[in-house]
């Protein structure tokens, strides 16, 4: 039976994971895109990303694009699996009631 995930359940992290999970596994999105897509501030998004990275659900890549710093975020296989399990658990709660 699928179980809810405490790390992913937090609303901002749920949205971050949902955005990342909908993107194919070999693609990375920028910090700026995630910030806009999730409606978070720089500091808030950074804190949630660190939490997800600590859990092994995402990887954060800091690099330079045309001599400007750029941060890319990518979901890991473990993150994708955890997110799908969390979604299944939510679905199960709806269907069980």
């Amino acid at each position: 039976m699928a179980t809810l995930n405490e790390v992913i359940h937090q609303p901002a992290r749920l949205r971050i994971m949902a955005v990342l999970a909908a993107i194919s596994p070999e693609r990375q999105v920028t910090f700026g895109f995630l910030k806009e897509a999730c409606g978070l501030t720089d500091g808030n998004l950074g804190a949630h990303l660190r939490r997800l990275e600590e859990a092994g659900y995402i990887t954060i890549v800091k690099t330079f694009v045309r001599q400007k710093p750029q941060t890319y975020i990518q979901i890991t296989e473990a993150g994708r699996a955890a997110f799908e399990e969390h979604r299944a658990a939510l679905q199960a709660i709806l269907e069980s009631a």
Binding site: H9, A18, V19, I23, E26, R27
Partner: protein
């Protein structure tokens, strides 16, 4: 409100519903980003339709000369690709990155050969246009195979056959023919791909 406790998280049915709604919203945002390449197809379709139709009805108007409109299309495609890459990229060292590099080289070589054939072998604007349409459709078919997108494969094959038929059978209406059967299909395919879930 009844709450369920699963692995330390208490959640009601309403909260589960809200969370699933948030997931759906976020998924739509990502899908819109992933589909942004379709805008390039739409714009090229509009450029083709307008410039081909103008060549039929306003053959002396230099504003609609084909090479300029093709350059506008290529410039837009490059601009749009750069803009898209500013928010999403293929992970370096991934299998997809390897495929992207191979495809980029393939397209580069294909378009260099197109220019060579155009300069060395072709005399008329109609010949150049037919070659250009078939080269772009060839690239669409290859991309469709690569992306497993049957719509691109079908569109590429149909436009190639119809454009060639128009060239041979009704050369006096060739420009109008390709406006309808080469430009409009690109617009139609882009709208279909955008609206598709």
């Amino acid at each position: 409100m009844k709450k369920e406790r699963v692995t330390g998280v208490e959640i009601s049915r309403e909260e589960a519903q809200q969370a699933l709604g948030a997931i759906e919203d976020a998924t739509k945002t990502s899908r819109a980003l992933l589909r942004s390449w379709i805008v390039g197809v739409f714009v090229v379709g509009v450029i083709w339709t307008v410039s081909f139709a103008a060549s039929q009805f306003l053959p002396d108007n230099p504003l609609w000369s084909l090479s300029e409109s093709f350059l506008v299309g290529i410039a837009f495609a490059i601009y749009w690709g750069q803009r898209r890459r500013s928010v999403i990229r293929v992970a370096p060292q991934s299998r997809l990155a390897f495929l992207h590099t191979r495809l980029a080289v393939f397209y580069g070589v294909l378009y260099l050969f197109f220019m060579l054939w155009q300069i060395a072998l072709l005399n008329t604007a109609m010949q150049s246009t037919l070659l250009w349409i078939t080269v772009v459709m060839f690239a669409a078919i290859i991309t469709g195979v690569w992306l497993r997108e049957p719509v691109l494969i079908g569109c590429g094959m149909a436009v190639t056959v119809l454009s060639t038929l128009g060239y041979w059978l009704i050369p006096q209406y060739f420009w109008l023919w390709v406006a309808v059967f080469a430009g409009l299909p690109l617009i139609g395919v882009s709208v279909y791909l955008w609206r598709r879930r």
